[in-house]
Amino acid sequence: MGVVRYEGLPFVARFRWNTGKIMEKFYGGFAERQILAAKCENCGYTVVPPRVICPKCSSKMNENNLVKLDGRGVVLSYTVVRKKLDGKGGFVTLDKPEVIAAVKLNGADSMIFAKIGDVDVEDIKSGMEVVPVWAEKPEGRLSDLLYFRPG
Protein backbone atom coordinates (compact mmCIF):
# COMPACT_ATOMS: atom_id res chain seq x y z
CA MET A 1 0.00 0.00 0.00
CA GLY A 2 1.78 3.07 -1.17
CA VAL A 3 0.47 6.51 -0.43
CA VAL A 4 1.71 9.73 -1.91
CA ARG A 5 3.83 11.71 0.51
CA TYR A 6 4.48 15.38 0.27
CA GLU A 7 7.89 16.43 1.52
CA GLY A 8 8.11 19.98 2.84
CA LEU A 9 9.96 22.56 0.83
CA PRO A 10 13.56 22.94 1.97
CA PHE A 11 13.15 25.48 4.72
CA VAL A 12 15.57 26.05 7.55
CA ALA A 13 14.34 28.30 10.31
CA ARG A 14 17.37 29.93 11.85
CA PHE A 15 15.58 32.08 14.37
CA ARG A 16 17.38 35.11 15.77
CA TRP A 17 16.32 36.28 19.17
CA ASN A 18 17.21 39.44 20.99
CA THR A 19 18.84 38.07 24.12
CA GLY A 20 18.18 41.23 26.14
CA LYS A 21 20.67 43.21 28.21
CA ILE A 22 20.92 40.77 31.08
CA MET A 23 21.82 37.80 28.85
CA GLU A 24 24.26 40.00 26.94
CA LYS A 25 26.10 40.56 30.25
CA PHE A 26 25.89 36.83 31.01
CA TYR A 27 27.59 35.92 27.72
CA GLY A 28 30.03 38.82 28.21
CA GLY A 29 31.05 37.38 31.58
CA PHE A 30 32.27 34.25 29.81
CA ALA A 31 35.14 36.33 28.33
CA GLU A 32 36.47 36.63 31.92
CA ARG A 33 35.60 32.97 32.63
CA GLN A 34 32.83 34.18 34.89
CA ILE A 35 29.29 32.93 35.40
CA LEU A 36 26.76 35.60 36.35
CA ALA A 37 23.42 35.03 38.04
CA ALA A 38 20.59 37.38 38.98
CA LYS A 39 19.68 37.68 42.65
CA CYS A 40 16.18 38.90 43.39
CA GLU A 41 16.13 41.80 45.88
CA ASN A 42 12.64 40.97 46.98
CA CYS A 43 12.78 37.23 47.72
CA GLY A 44 16.50 36.43 47.46
CA TYR A 45 16.08 33.75 44.79
CA THR A 46 19.20 33.53 42.64
CA VAL A 47 18.69 32.38 39.08
CA VAL A 48 21.27 31.33 36.49
CA PRO A 49 21.31 32.11 33.60
CA PRO A 50 19.93 35.45 34.82
CA ARG A 51 16.37 36.45 34.02
CA VAL A 52 14.61 39.81 34.03
CA ILE A 53 11.61 38.49 35.95
CA CYS A 54 12.23 36.54 39.16
CA PRO A 55 10.93 32.99 38.56
CA LYS A 56 9.76 32.75 42.18
CA CYS A 57 8.15 36.09 43.04
CA SER A 58 7.87 37.79 39.61
CA SER A 59 9.78 40.90 40.70
CA LYS A 60 11.44 42.88 37.95
CA MET A 61 15.22 42.46 37.76
CA ASN A 62 17.93 44.13 35.66
CA GLU A 63 21.73 44.34 35.31
CA ASN A 64 21.98 45.71 38.86
CA ASN A 65 20.79 42.35 40.18
CA LEU A 66 23.74 40.48 38.65
CA VAL A 67 26.04 38.61 41.03
CA LYS A 68 29.18 36.61 40.29
CA LEU A 69 29.19 32.87 41.00
CA ASP A 70 32.43 31.00 41.65
CA GLY A 71 31.53 28.55 38.89
CA ARG A 72 31.74 25.45 41.07
CA GLY A 73 28.70 23.25 41.32
CA VAL A 74 27.23 19.94 42.43
CA VAL A 75 25.68 17.26 40.21
CA LEU A 76 22.03 16.77 41.20
CA SER A 77 21.31 14.18 38.53
CA TYR A 78 22.95 12.87 35.37
CA THR A 79 22.25 10.69 32.38
CA VAL A 80 24.46 8.86 29.94
CA VAL A 81 23.08 9.73 26.53
CA ARG A 82 23.28 6.84 24.05
CA LYS A 83 20.90 8.20 21.42
CA LYS A 84 21.07 11.72 20.16
CA LEU A 85 18.68 13.60 17.91
CA ASP A 86 20.28 14.69 14.64
CA GLY A 87 18.29 17.91 14.28
CA LYS A 88 16.23 16.41 11.45
CA GLY A 89 14.07 14.13 13.56
CA GLY A 90 16.33 11.08 13.42
CA PHE A 91 18.03 9.30 16.31
CA VAL A 92 21.76 8.67 16.06
CA THR A 93 23.41 6.05 18.26
CA LEU A 94 26.50 7.61 19.78
CA ASP A 95 29.71 5.60 19.42
CA LYS A 96 30.95 7.27 22.54
CA PRO A 97 28.14 8.03 24.98
CA GLU A 98 27.96 11.57 26.32
CA VAL A 99 26.94 12.70 29.77
CA ILE A 100 24.68 15.56 30.71
CA ALA A 101 23.86 16.57 34.25
CA ALA A 102 21.57 18.82 36.21
CA VAL A 103 24.05 21.00 38.10
CA LYS A 104 23.38 23.31 41.04
CA LEU A 105 26.01 26.04 40.97
CA ASN A 106 27.26 27.41 44.28
CA GLY A 107 25.22 30.45 45.24
CA ALA A 108 22.39 29.71 42.80
CA ASP A 109 18.91 28.42 43.65
CA SER A 110 18.06 27.29 40.12
CA MET A 111 19.92 24.53 38.28
CA ILE A 112 21.49 24.34 34.86
CA PHE A 113 21.84 21.46 32.43
CA ALA A 114 25.37 20.93 31.19
CA LYS A 115 27.65 18.44 29.50
CA ILE A 116 30.09 16.64 31.78
CA GLY A 117 33.51 15.69 30.42
CA ASP A 118 36.93 14.36 31.49
CA VAL A 119 35.28 11.51 33.38
CA ASP A 120 34.51 7.83 32.75
CA VAL A 121 30.77 7.34 32.55
CA GLU A 122 30.97 4.69 35.29
CA ASP A 123 32.55 7.17 37.69
CA ILE A 124 29.98 9.93 37.55
CA LYS A 125 27.75 10.16 40.62
CA SER A 126 25.12 12.49 41.96
CA GLY A 127 26.65 14.78 44.57
CA MET A 128 29.91 15.00 42.62
CA GLU A 129 31.51 18.46 42.58
CA VAL A 130 32.19 19.94 39.16
CA VAL A 131 33.98 22.96 37.73
CA PRO A 132 33.64 24.64 34.33
CA VAL A 133 36.10 24.02 31.50
CA TRP A 134 36.55 27.11 29.34
CA ALA A 135 37.75 27.61 25.80
CA GLU A 136 41.43 28.54 25.49
CA LYS A 137 40.60 32.04 24.29
CA PRO A 138 37.13 32.95 25.57
CA GLU A 139 35.41 35.65 23.52
CA GLY A 140 32.27 36.34 25.48
CA ARG A 141 30.17 33.76 23.65
CA LEU A 142 28.08 30.83 24.83
CA SER A 143 30.52 28.44 23.14
CA ASP A 144 33.27 29.58 25.59
CA LEU A 145 31.79 27.29 28.23
CA LEU A 146 32.83 23.91 26.87
CA TYR A 147 31.59 21.58 29.61
CA PHE A 148 31.98 20.83 33.31
CA ARG A 149 34.46 18.35 34.77
CA PRO A 150 34.88 16.80 38.23
CA GLY A 151 36.93 19.06 40.45
Partner: protein
Protein backbone atom coordinates in the same frame (compact mmCIF):
# COMPACT_ATOMS: atom_id res chain seq x y z
CA UNK B 1 -24.01 24.27 35.70
CA UNK B 2 -23.02 20.59 35.60
CA UNK B 3 -21.44 19.02 32.54
CA UNK B 4 -21.36 15.42 31.35
CA UNK B 5 -19.48 13.34 28.80
CA UNK B 6 -22.14 11.83 26.56
CA UNK B 7 -20.15 10.38 23.66
CA UNK B 8 -16.64 9.56 22.52
CA UNK B 9 -14.47 7.89 19.91
CA UNK B 10 -10.81 6.91 19.58
CA UNK B 11 -9.05 6.11 16.31
CA UNK B 12 -6.62 3.28 15.85
CA UNK B 13 -3.19 4.25 17.20
CA UNK B 14 -0.58 3.40 14.62
CA UNK B 15 2.67 4.44 13.08
CA UNK B 16 2.40 5.97 9.62
CA UNK B 17 -1.39 5.88 9.30
CA UNK B 18 -2.45 5.78 5.66
CA UNK B 19 -5.05 8.44 6.21
CA UNK B 20 -4.91 12.19 6.11
CA UNK B 21 -5.23 14.15 9.31
CA UNK B 22 -8.56 15.54 8.12
CA UNK B 23 -9.95 12.04 7.50
CA UNK B 24 -8.86 10.81 10.91
CA UNK B 25 -10.42 13.77 12.69
CA UNK B 26 -13.58 13.48 10.59
CA UNK B 27 -13.96 9.82 11.53
CA UNK B 28 -13.59 10.30 15.28
CA UNK B 29 -15.81 13.40 15.29
CA UNK B 30 -18.54 11.55 13.39
CA UNK B 31 -18.24 8.45 15.57
CA UNK B 32 -18.36 10.47 18.78
CA UNK B 33 -21.52 12.26 17.64
CA UNK B 34 -23.09 8.91 16.73
CA UNK B 35 -22.01 7.47 20.06
CA UNK B 36 -23.70 10.43 21.79
CA UNK B 37 -26.81 10.19 19.63
CA UNK B 38 -26.64 13.79 18.45
CA UNK B 39 -26.22 15.37 15.03
CA UNK B 40 -23.74 17.97 13.86
CA UNK B 41 -26.56 20.56 13.95
CA UNK B 42 -27.03 19.97 17.69
CA UNK B 43 -23.46 20.96 18.48
CA UNK B 44 -23.01 24.56 19.63
CA UNK B 45 -19.24 24.78 19.92
CA UNK B 46 -16.27 22.78 18.64
CA UNK B 47 -12.83 22.92 20.27
CA UNK B 48 -9.87 21.19 18.67
CA UNK B 49 -6.44 20.33 20.05
CA UNK B 50 -3.38 20.07 17.82
CA UNK B 51 -0.08 21.86 17.70
CA UNK B 52 1.47 23.85 14.90
CA UNK B 53 4.96 22.54 15.64
CA UNK B 54 3.99 18.87 15.49
CA UNK B 55 1.73 19.43 12.52
CA UNK B 56 4.27 21.33 10.45
CA UNK B 57 1.82 24.10 9.61
CA UNK B 58 0.69 27.25 11.32
CA UNK B 59 -2.85 27.55 12.64
CA UNK B 60 -2.98 23.76 12.60
CA UNK B 61 -6.69 23.76 13.46
CA UNK B 62 -7.71 25.54 10.27
CA UNK B 63 -7.84 22.35 8.24
CA UNK B 64 -9.55 20.42 11.03
CA UNK B 65 -12.57 22.70 11.07
CA UNK B 66 -14.17 20.75 8.22
CA UNK B 67 -13.26 17.39 9.71
CA UNK B 68 -14.60 18.43 13.10
CA UNK B 69 -17.88 19.73 11.67
CA UNK B 70 -17.13 23.22 12.95
CA UNK B 71 -17.94 25.43 9.97
CA UNK B 72 -20.01 28.46 10.96
CA UNK B 73 -19.90 27.37 14.59
CA UNK B 74 -18.31 28.90 17.67
CA UNK B 75 -14.93 27.24 17.02
CA UNK B 76 -11.68 27.51 18.93
CA UNK B 77 -8.49 25.63 19.68
CA UNK B 78 -6.24 24.47 22.52
CA UNK B 79 -2.58 24.24 21.50
CA UNK B 80 -1.88 21.26 23.78
CA UNK B 81 -3.49 18.04 24.93
CA UNK B 82 -7.08 17.27 23.93
CA UNK B 83 -8.11 17.18 27.57
CA UNK B 84 -7.47 20.92 27.58
CA UNK B 85 -9.86 21.14 24.61
CA UNK B 86 -12.39 19.25 26.75
CA UNK B 87 -11.71 21.68 29.62
CA UNK B 88 -12.25 24.65 27.31
CA UNK B 89 -15.46 23.07 25.99
CA UNK B 90 -16.70 22.28 29.51
CA UNK B 91 -16.09 25.88 30.57
CA UNK B 92 -18.21 27.12 27.64
CA UNK B 93 -21.03 24.82 28.73
CA UNK B 94 -20.64 25.81 32.39
CA UNK B 95 -20.91 29.43 31.35
CA UNK B 96 -24.30 28.60 29.85
CA UNK B 97 -23.27 29.75 26.40
CA UNK B 98 -23.91 26.38 24.73
CA UNK B 99 -25.55 23.07 25.63
CA UNK B 100 -23.57 20.62 23.50
CA UNK B 101 -19.87 20.76 22.69
CA UNK B 102 -17.55 18.61 20.62
CA UNK B 103 -13.85 18.41 21.46
CA UNK B 104 -11.46 16.76 18.99
CA UNK B 105 -7.74 16.14 19.16
CA UNK B 106 -5.09 14.56 17.00
CA UNK B 107 -1.38 14.20 16.38
CA UNK B 108 0.28 12.43 13.51
CA UNK B 109 3.79 11.83 14.84
CA UNK B 110 4.90 10.34 11.56
CA UNK B 111 4.98 13.85 10.12
CA UNK B 112 7.99 14.80 12.23
CA UNK B 113 9.61 13.26 15.31
CA UNK B 114 7.95 14.92 18.33
CA UNK B 115 11.08 14.30 20.42
CA UNK B 116 13.00 16.60 18.10
CA UNK B 117 10.26 19.20 18.46
CA UNK B 118 10.63 18.98 22.26
CA UNK B 119 13.86 20.98 21.90
CA UNK B 120 11.77 23.95 20.81
CA UNK B 121 10.14 23.99 24.25
CA UNK B 122 13.53 24.90 25.72
CA UNK B 123 14.61 28.39 26.66
CA UNK B 124 16.47 29.46 23.49
CA UNK B 125 19.61 31.26 24.70
CA UNK B 126 21.21 28.61 26.88
CA UNK B 127 19.34 25.29 27.08
CA UNK B 128 18.46 25.07 23.39
CA UNK B 129 22.09 25.62 22.43
CA UNK B 130 22.98 22.26 24.02
CA UNK B 131 22.25 19.59 21.43
CA UNK B 132 21.98 16.83 24.04
CA UNK B 133 19.01 18.33 25.84
CA UNK B 134 15.58 17.18 24.73
CA UNK B 135 12.38 15.72 26.19
CA UNK B 136 13.93 12.26 26.63
CA UNK B 137 17.26 13.25 28.18
CA UNK B 138 15.50 15.66 30.55
CA UNK B 139 13.07 12.92 31.55
CA UNK B 140 16.10 10.71 32.24
CA UNK B 141 17.51 13.39 34.55
CA UNK B 142 14.14 13.62 36.25
CA UNK B 143 13.95 9.82 36.58
CA UNK B 144 17.34 9.53 38.26
CA UNK B 145 16.65 12.46 40.58
CA UNK B 146 13.37 10.88 41.69
CA UNK B 147 14.79 7.36 41.92
CA UNK B 148 17.83 8.32 44.00
CA UNK B 149 15.71 10.41 46.34
CA UNK B 150 13.32 7.57 47.13
CA UNK B 151 15.27 4.37 46.56
CA UNK B 152 13.40 3.43 43.39
CA UNK B 153 15.25 1.15 40.96
CA UNK B 154 15.02 0.26 37.26
CA UNK B 155 12.97 -2.84 38.12
CA UNK B 156 10.20 -0.64 39.52
CA UNK B 157 10.15 1.34 36.28
CA UNK B 158 10.06 -1.87 34.27
CA UNK B 159 7.15 -3.16 36.40
CA UNK B 160 5.13 -0.09 35.40
CA UNK B 161 5.80 -0.88 31.73
CA UNK B 162 4.91 -4.56 32.13
CA UNK B 163 1.61 -3.70 33.80
CA UNK B 164 0.62 -1.12 31.21
CA UNK B 165 1.75 -2.99 28.10
CA UNK B 166 0.04 -6.19 29.26
CA UNK B 167 -3.15 -4.24 29.97
CA UNK B 168 -2.94 -2.78 26.47
CA UNK B 169 -2.98 -6.26 24.93
CA UNK B 170 -6.78 -6.28 25.32
CA UNK B 171 -7.31 -2.75 23.98
CA UNK B 172 -8.14 -2.94 20.26
CA UNK B 173 -6.76 0.46 19.24
CA UNK B 174 -3.49 0.34 21.26
CA UNK B 175 -0.09 0.50 19.52
CA UNK B 176 2.14 -1.49 21.88
CA UNK B 177 0.21 -4.63 22.81
CA UNK B 178 2.59 -6.97 24.58
CA UNK B 179 0.64 -9.52 26.60
CA UNK B 180 3.66 -11.60 27.57
CA UNK B 181 6.25 -8.85 28.01
CA UNK B 182 8.65 -9.34 30.92
CA UNK B 183 10.65 -7.07 33.18
CA UNK B 184 13.85 -8.39 31.56
CA UNK B 185 12.63 -7.48 28.08
CA UNK B 186 11.82 -3.94 29.21
CA UNK B 187 15.28 -3.55 30.76
CA UNK B 188 17.01 -5.08 27.75
CA UNK B 189 15.22 -2.93 25.17
CA UNK B 190 17.45 -0.33 23.60
CA UNK B 191 18.97 2.20 26.00
CA UNK B 192 18.19 5.78 24.99
CA UNK B 193 19.36 7.83 27.94
CA UNK B 194 19.92 5.90 31.12
CA UNK B 195 17.92 4.81 33.05
CA UNK B 196 15.33 5.09 30.26
CA UNK B 197 15.12 2.26 27.74
CA UNK B 198 12.99 2.29 24.61
CA UNK B 199 10.00 0.55 26.24
CA UNK B 200 10.02 3.00 29.17
CA UNK B 201 9.38 5.85 26.73
CA UNK B 202 5.86 6.43 25.40
CA UNK B 203 5.96 5.77 21.64
CA UNK B 204 4.82 8.77 19.61
CA UNK B 205 2.27 7.64 17.02
CA UNK B 206 -0.62 8.75 14.83
CA UNK B 207 -4.08 8.97 16.30
CA UNK B 208 -7.13 11.04 17.13
CA UNK B 209 -9.90 11.18 19.69
CA UNK B 210 -13.15 13.06 20.21
CA UNK B 211 -15.60 13.61 23.06
CA UNK B 212 -19.08 15.10 23.15
CA UNK B 213 -19.98 17.08 26.25
CA UNK B 214 -23.45 18.23 27.30
CA UNK B 215 -24.77 20.58 29.96
CA UNK B 216 -27.20 19.37 32.60
CA UNK B 217 -29.99 21.09 30.63
CA UNK B 218 -29.89 18.39 27.98
CA UNK B 219 -27.52 15.59 29.07
CA UNK B 220 -30.11 13.26 30.60
CA UNK B 221 -32.62 13.87 27.80
CA UNK B 222 -30.13 12.83 25.16
CA UNK B 223 -28.13 10.20 26.94
CA UNK B 224 -29.12 7.20 29.07
CA UNK B 225 -25.87 7.06 30.99
CA UNK B 226 -24.06 10.41 30.99
CA UNK B 227 -20.72 10.47 32.79
CA UNK B 228 -20.56 13.57 34.97
CA UNK B 229 -17.55 15.82 35.39
CA UNK B 230 -17.35 16.17 39.17
CA UNK B 231 -14.07 17.96 39.56
CA UNK B 232 -11.42 19.77 37.52
CA UNK B 233 -7.97 20.97 38.53
CA UNK B 234 -5.22 22.49 36.41
CA UNK B 235 -1.78 23.77 37.34
CA UNK B 236 1.41 24.78 35.56
CA UNK B 237 4.84 24.58 37.20
CA UNK B 238 7.91 26.80 36.74
CA UNK B 239 10.32 26.35 33.86
CA UNK B 240 12.38 23.25 34.54
CA UNK B 241 15.50 25.02 35.83
CA UNK B 242 13.44 26.45 38.69
CA UNK B 243 11.49 23.30 39.63
CA UNK B 244 12.14 20.38 41.93
CA UNK B 245 12.17 17.80 39.14
CA UNK B 246 11.90 14.95 41.65
CA UNK B 247 8.31 15.90 42.45
CA UNK B 248 5.24 16.66 40.33
CA UNK B 249 4.17 19.74 42.27
CA UNK B 250 1.76 21.04 39.67
CA UNK B 251 0.04 17.65 39.45
CA UNK B 252 -0.36 17.62 43.22
CA UNK B 253 -1.96 21.08 43.11
CA UNK B 254 -4.20 20.15 40.16
CA UNK B 255 -5.33 16.98 41.93
CA UNK B 256 -6.03 18.81 45.17
CA UNK B 257 -8.26 21.31 43.32
CA UNK B 258 -10.11 18.55 41.47
CA UNK B 259 -10.62 16.51 44.66
CA UNK B 260 -11.94 19.54 46.53
CA UNK B 261 -14.42 20.32 43.74
CA UNK B 262 -15.56 16.69 43.66
CA UNK B 263 -15.75 16.41 47.46
CA UNK B 264 -13.10 13.71 47.62
CA UNK B 265 -11.20 13.50 50.90
CA UNK B 266 -9.49 10.13 50.68
CA UNK B 267 -8.45 9.58 47.05
CA UNK B 268 -7.12 6.04 47.56
CA UNK B 269 -10.48 4.91 48.92
CA UNK B 270 -12.80 7.11 46.91
CA UNK B 271 -11.28 6.96 43.42
CA UNK B 272 -12.05 3.59 41.79
CA UNK B 273 -9.72 3.88 38.82
CA UNK B 274 -7.21 6.36 37.38
CA UNK B 275 -6.20 6.84 33.76
CA UNK B 276 -3.02 8.90 33.67
CA UNK B 277 -0.58 10.23 31.08
CA UNK B 278 2.80 8.67 31.93
CA UNK B 279 5.05 9.74 29.06
CA UNK B 280 7.92 7.94 30.80
CA UNK B 281 7.66 4.98 33.19
CA UNK B 282 8.92 6.84 36.28
CA UNK B 283 6.23 9.49 35.86
CA UNK B 284 3.54 6.94 36.70
CA UNK B 285 5.16 6.33 40.10
CA UNK B 286 5.56 10.07 40.64
CA UNK B 287 1.88 10.52 39.74
CA UNK B 288 0.76 7.96 42.37
CA UNK B 289 2.31 10.26 44.94
CA UNK B 290 1.10 13.55 43.46
CA UNK B 291 -2.43 12.14 43.22
CA UNK B 292 -2.21 11.19 46.93
CA UNK B 293 -2.71 7.48 46.28
CA UNK B 294 0.24 7.03 48.64
CA UNK B 295 2.68 9.16 50.61
CA UNK B 296 5.62 10.89 48.94
CA UNK B 297 8.32 8.41 47.97
CA UNK B 298 6.03 5.38 48.32
CA UNK B 299 4.97 5.09 44.66
CA UNK B 300 7.17 2.04 44.20
CA UNK B 301 5.30 0.19 46.97
CA UNK B 302 2.05 0.42 44.97
CA UNK B 303 3.65 -1.12 41.89
CA UNK B 304 5.66 -3.71 43.84
CA UNK B 305 2.54 -4.91 45.63
CA UNK B 306 0.37 -4.94 42.52
CA UNK B 307 -2.07 -2.40 43.95
CA UNK B 308 -2.35 -0.56 40.63
CA UNK B 309 -3.14 -3.67 38.57
CA UNK B 310 -6.68 -3.89 37.16
CA UNK B 311 -7.59 -6.24 40.04
CA UNK B 312 -5.72 -4.14 42.66
CA UNK B 313 -7.04 -1.72 45.25
CA UNK B 314 -6.13 1.34 43.15
CA UNK B 315 -6.11 0.40 39.45
CA UNK B 316 -4.08 2.78 37.28
CA UNK B 317 -4.03 2.72 33.48
CA UNK B 318 -6.07 -0.39 32.77
CA UNK B 319 -6.05 0.87 29.15
CA UNK B 320 -2.25 0.74 29.00
CA UNK B 321 -1.73 4.48 29.37
CA UNK B 322 0.59 6.56 27.20
CA UNK B 323 3.26 3.83 27.22
CA UNK B 324 0.94 1.78 25.01
CA UNK B 325 0.67 4.53 22.39
CA UNK B 326 1.20 8.28 22.46
CA UNK B 327 -0.62 10.32 19.80
CA UNK B 328 0.60 13.40 21.70
CA UNK B 329 -2.40 15.78 21.60
CA UNK B 330 -4.91 12.92 21.78
CA UNK B 331 -3.19 11.03 24.62
CA UNK B 332 -4.79 12.82 27.58
CA UNK B 333 -8.17 12.92 25.86
CA UNK B 334 -7.97 9.13 25.47
CA UNK B 335 -7.38 8.91 29.24
CA UNK B 336 -10.58 10.93 29.73
CA UNK B 337 -12.45 8.59 27.37
CA UNK B 338 -11.08 5.48 29.08
CA UNK B 339 -12.11 6.88 32.47
CA UNK B 340 -15.62 7.52 31.11
CA UNK B 341 -15.72 3.97 29.69
CA UNK B 342 -14.89 2.60 33.15
CA UNK B 343 -17.88 4.45 34.65
CA UNK B 344 -20.16 3.15 31.91
CA UNK B 345 -18.84 -0.38 32.37
CA UNK B 346 -17.57 -0.51 28.78
CA UNK B 347 -13.81 -0.77 29.33
CA UNK B 348 -11.81 -3.70 27.98
CA UNK B 349 -10.13 -4.09 31.37
CA UNK B 350 -13.18 -3.20 33.41
CA UNK B 351 -12.76 -2.39 37.09
CA UNK B 352 -15.67 -3.86 39.06
CA UNK B 353 -18.18 -1.41 40.49
CA UNK B 354 -16.44 1.68 39.13
CA UNK B 355 -18.35 4.83 40.08
CA UNK B 356 -15.58 7.43 40.41
CA UNK B 357 -12.74 7.72 37.90
CA UNK B 358 -9.79 10.07 37.52
CA UNK B 359 -8.31 11.21 34.20
CA UNK B 360 -5.00 13.04 33.84
CA UNK B 361 -3.26 14.87 31.02
CA UNK B 362 0.17 16.48 31.03
CA UNK B 363 2.00 18.92 28.80
CA UNK B 364 5.52 20.28 28.61
CA UNK B 365 8.97 19.02 29.51
CA UNK B 366 9.13 16.68 32.52
CA UNK B 367 5.34 17.02 32.94
CA UNK B 368 5.45 20.75 33.61
CA UNK B 369 1.70 21.26 33.28
CA UNK B 370 -1.01 18.95 34.57
CA UNK B 371 -4.79 18.67 34.27
CA UNK B 372 -7.01 16.37 36.33
CA UNK B 373 -10.69 15.50 35.82
CA UNK B 374 -12.80 13.52 38.27
CA UNK B 375 -15.70 11.70 36.66
CA UNK B 376 -18.72 10.15 38.36
CA UNK B 377 -21.90 8.26 37.55
CA UNK B 378 -24.14 10.86 39.23
CA UNK B 379 -24.40 14.63 38.71
Amino acid sequence: MKVAVIGYAVSNLEWDAEKTREETVFEVAKSALENAGVSREDVGTVISASTDFLDGRTISNCMLIGGGGAYLKDESKAEEDGMYAALYAAQRLMAGVHDIALAVSHTHSWIFNPHQVSQYMLEPWFDRQNDLINGITLAALQARMYMEKHGVDELDLAEVCVKNLRNAAKVPYALRKLHDITVEEILESEMFSDPLTELMIAPPCDGAAAVVLASENVAEEICENPVWIKGIGNSCDNYLRDRDLAKLNSLEIAARKAYRMAGIEEPFREVDVAEITERFAHQELMAYEALSFCREGKGRVLIEEGMTEVYGDMPVNPSGGALAGDPICATGMIRLIEAAKQIRGEAENQVDGCRTALAHAQWGLCAQKNLVFILGDEP
